[in-house]
């Protein structure tokens, strides 16, 4: 079983006051801490678990700069066998470019299963997985919250709206975009990462993949990024518990909820 997992190093933005940079195209990132994209963490864990159960070979792939190799070392520490970084050079890729580049790389490696996260924490497009599958002509499913492999087939469960799950069977090879909560990702110790940093990371240049020029053009043009406008101040309710409850009910009614 050959499994490829696409992972991404993303800035950790909770608890941080984001500031826009001068170009108004992005936030200032120099003071941000980078981590593995949360969804990808579940995806790599899932891949390692499949490998532990059925045997196989796990390759982690990322598109990024040298500093992003941290995310690959983490994957290696978790148990991935191989790691590839695609050097992005000066490109500032959007989801469709990422998909084009990653699929060009993945195509050259034998694979039965490709895993991605449902979305990434930074831009939240949620389409990279599906785009890769389209380009490779693979069967795919997104928001997968359970995955069982047996005899060349995958039993999967997909999270639908309203807490419903859809169960299906998919013939491999296939691509799955993994939802958080599918497993409990293991802890990666500092010692583990140190150990993994002795392993080789293969580097491929994105510009050397022979992709046609239009694939390396963004399909989405960012015009401006801005902070959400500040809304009016909050209304502080006063009074004892009884009157507070009355006021809350009044507000809910005013907002159109029928009680």
């Amino acid at each position: 079983m050959n499994i490829i997992v696409c992972v991404k190093n993303v800035p950790f933005t909770q608890e941080v006051d984001l500031v826009l940079d001068a170009s108004k195209q992005d936030v200032k990132k120099d003071n941000l801490v980078y981590v593995i994209n949360e969804w990808d963490n579940y995806a790599i864990e899932e891949a390692i678990r499949i490998k532990e159960e059925t045997g196989g070979h796990v390759t982690a792939v990322t598109l990024g700069k040298e500093a992003d190799e941290e995310v690959l070392r983490r994957c290696l520490a978790m148990g991935a066998d191989e790691a590839i970084r695609v050097e992005r050079g000066d490109l500032n890729p959007d989801a469709s470019m990422i998909a084009a580049i990653l699929s060009a790389v993945v195509k050259t490696i034998p694979h039965d299963i490709i895993l991605t996260g449902v979305q990434s924490d930074d831009l939240n497009n949620g389409i990279t997985g599906s785009l890769i599958a389209e380009r490779l002509g693979l069967v795919h499913a997104a928001v997968v919250n359970s995955l069982k492999i047996s005899e060349g087939k995958a039993q999967i469960s997909i999270e639908l709206e309203g807490g419903q799950d859809e169960m299906s069977q998919v013939t491999l090879p296939a691509l799955f975009a993994i939802q958080t909560g599918i497993n409990e990702p293991r802890y990666v110790s500092i010692m583990g990462i140190r150990k993994a940093s002795k392993k080789e990371i293969k580097v491929i240049d994105a510009s050397g993949l022979g992709l046609p020029g239009e694939d390396l053009q963004p399909s989405l043009i960012m015009e401006e990024m801005f902070m959400p406008p500040e809304t009016e101040g909050a209304e502080m309710l006063q009074g004892d518990a009884g009157s507070l409850a009355d006021q809350i009910i009044r507000i809910i009614r005013e907002k159109g909820v029928s009680l």
Binding site: F12, Q14, E15, V16, V33, V35, M78, E184, P185, R186, Y187, V188, S189, I190, M191, G192, I193, R194, K195, K198
Partner: protein, 668 residues
């Protein structure tokens, strides 16, 4: 013929006896070898140094059983009698053998004294054994769990002394030399046989039964809990050896890397259950018990590192005796709060928390069974340099309107106040820092903090066994202290204090100037002694004091906080059921604050109820963890309005008239 020790009276097959002695001694030696080889399989066998404290402990605890008497007089006497009965009778046998083979001296008065002593020792032994039997099987002391060997060993020992007296008695029945009446034990049995002939006939039988039972005991000795007779003293001595550095690196083998003294610990435990009694987790009925952990670790190491376990028969027998393959079940290890209470009471100084940390490390390295929330806390610590998921910029937020000199921004001061993560970020614990700063400013002490540059000392990483992360934090923190030339440190938290004082030096290069480290209670006491702070405001309060584990048991600071409390006019101090070295953990240490475990109990509620039982208005503590744990327990145990939790700084600040605005009216 003058009266003398009689050897092999009427026994013909002396040589058979010596062959059997040879066999039993050989089995004994093999057993000792197999157990010691488990000790030697430890990673990092540290050098054992001569320590006066070790020798002293060996005398007091080894020879007199000091710790066994503590809190349980009967157990102390029982053990004392059994131990000295055993040693005495053993020496008696050695003397007798010497008398027979080497130099004959047991005759006349010497013999009579010898014989009389043995009688006394035998009686002591019997008294001890009977007490043990009664405690276990009639009084049913709750901390003892009676396992098969507990019974068999007592019965066998009892049988050996009893038959010993019978051998003597039957001999005296045949021939009672003048003066032999000193052998009063034997004399009692001498009336047992009805005639001289009968006595002569049964004598060899009893003699052989006694000899075989005794030889069996010798052979079984190292395989049973009697091995504590040998391992216990070693353990007692080793306990005062300096802390060992376990340097684990990428090449370290998988599995818990137990140390030399861990292995000795495991082999020496007698299952007396004292640790379970004081363990906050075990006594709250959480699914953990230090005794069981030690037992599991014993079986685990015994099977893996024992040369005999290469023999299939032996291995299978061992497996059967623990009913399954000996493994150390990984779920249990996260319950330990590392409170050190078990070490305080164990008669042979076993502290379960140390080997538990070794297992935690191997679980951390393995990764997949680490409790969820802990995974998150450690990742946060790595990313943010604090476990509270706050950005570095927010480290100084607690300053508010206080002027706090920042040593990393050019301020000069002799003393560096290491605030610590919890005190910096937790809104409740921030009160500790604010009060301390006010007191220091009031006393005119030149001090400063590391501002936003302050790091996490790494306590959580250390306690949960994340050694790699701990080393990172040590490096970072030592680098920071060096950059700003800091040589004198005062910490808010007993946890930071303990690390700086006891564990950082292990990572310092030899020859480096050691850091002077104090906990804030020590600094406050000094200020008071120098007359720089004088609590003047009278506060008619009844308070009780909760000893934090890392200040008390880890660092022996019990009196400073109490003296400070007593110095406040009007304040009376009452103690809880557990205080000082017997203090009960709040449940926040050892990484417990940073995880949620299945079936976990609110240990802090047990403690807060003890505090409430004293009738105190306020419970004072000197640790930010205790502060937030107990504060929370006041709410969940429904004690709000009856009991308040305060940090000592807050109380002192109040008494100096420096209290937080608006809060003043709530006290006194």
């Amino acid at each position: 013929m003058p009266i003398a020790r009689i050897h092999f009276w009427g026994i013909d097959s002396k040589y058979l006896f010596y062959i059997l002695v040879g066999i039993s001694v050989a089995v004994f030696l093999l057993g000792v070898y197999s157990r010691v080889s488990v000790w030697l399989a430890a990673v990092n066998r540290e050098k054992v140094i001569v320590s006066r404290e070790g020798i002293l402990n060996l005398l007091m605890d080894g020879l007199f059983g000091r710790r066994i008497f503590k809190g349980d007089l009967i157990a102390g006497l029982m053990h004392f009698f059994i131990m000295w009965g055993f040693i005495g009778l053993f020496l008696g046998t050695v003397l007798s053998t010497t008398d027979y083979w080497i130099i004959h001296f047991l005759s006349g008065d010497v013999y009579l004294i010898y014989s009389f002593c043995l009688e006394i020792l035998g009686l002591m032994f019997i008294a001890g054994l009977l007490t043990a039997l009664i405690r276990r099987y009639i009084a049913r002391v709750s901390r003892l769990d009676n396992q098969a060997q507990d019974l068999w060993i007592l019965v066998l020992l009892f049988f050996c002394v009893l038959t010993g007296f019978m051998v003597e008695g039957v001999r005296l029945a045949v021939n009672m030399p003048e003066g032999e009446s000193v052998s009063f034990g034997g004399v009692i049995f001498s009336s047992l046989p009805s005639s001289k002939e009968q006595a002569e006939a049964v004598y060899p039988i009893i003699w052989w039964v006694h000899s075989l039972a005794s030889l069996f005991l010798v052979a079984w000795f190292p395989f049973s809990k009697l091995f504590h007779v040998l391992a216990g003293p070693v353990n007692i001595y080793m306990a005062s050896q300096p802390e060992a550095v376990v340097s684990r690196d990428e090449e370290s083998p998988e599995g818990p890397g137990f140390l030399f003294r861990d292995m000795i610990n495991f082999s020496a435990c007698t299952r007396c259950g004292r640790c379970n009694e004081v363990c906050p987790s075990a006594s709250a009925m959480e699914p953990f018990s230090p005794r069981e952990f030690i037992a599991q670790a014993n079986e685990y190491t015994r099977l893996r590192y024992n040369p005999l376990s290469r023999i299939k028969w032996f291995r299978e027998k061992l497996i059967k005796s623990v009913s399954a393959l000996p493994e150390i079940s990984p779920e249990q290890i996260w319950y330990c709060t590392t409170c050190r209470a078990c070490l305080e009471v164990c008669p042979i100084y076993i502290g379960a928390f140390e080997p538990i940390r070794r297992v935690r490390t191997s679980e951390i390295e393995e990764g997949s069974r680490v409790p969820n929330l802990l995974t998150k806390s450690l990742e946060t610590l790595y990313m943010f340099d604090n476990p509270w998921e706050r950005s570095k910029k927010k480290r100084g937020e607690w300053f508010g309107d206080l002027a706090v000199p920042d040593l990393t921004a050019g301020a000069k001061a002799d003393l560096c106040y290491f605030v610590g993560c919890t005190t910096s970020f937790d809104t409740r614990a921030q009160g500790l820092a604010r009060s301390f700063v006010k007191i220091m400013t009031h006393a005119g002490v030149s001090f400063g903090t590391l501002g936003q540059k302050e790091t996490c000392c790494g306590d959580i990483a250390r306690r949960v066994g994340e050694e790699g992360l701990f080393e990172e934090q040590v490096k970072k923190t030592m680098g920071l202290l060096k950059t700003y030339g800091i040589a004198d440190l005062v910490a808010s938290s007993p946890h930071c204090f303990n690390l700086f004082r006891n564990e950082y030096p292990l990572y310092q290069s030899p020859g480096a100037t050691p850091l002077r480290v104090r906990h804030y209670t020590q600094v406050l006491e000094e200020l008071m002694e120098r007359g720089l702070i004088k609590p003047v405001k009278r506060m008619d309060l009844r308070v009780t004091y909760h000893d934090p584990c890392y200040l008390g048991r880890y660092n022996n600071i019990y009196q400073a906080p109490r003296r400070l409390i007593r110095s406040i006019p009007g304040v009376s101090l009452v103690e809880m059921a557990h205080y000082g070295p017997d203090s009960l953990c709040c449940g926040g240490g050892g990484g417990r604050l940073w995880q949620e475990l299945e079936d976990e109990k609110k240990l802090s509620e047990v403690r807060i109820r003890e505090a409430a039982d004293t009738g105190a208005d306020i419970v004072i503590t000197t640790c930010p963890y205790c502060l937030i744990m107990l504060e929370d327990a006041v709410k969940t145990a429904d004690l709000e309005g009856r009991l308040r939790v305060m940090d000592l700084n807050e109380l002192i600040a109040e008494s100096l008239g420096l209290g937080e605005e608006g809060e003043e009216s709530t006290i006194g």
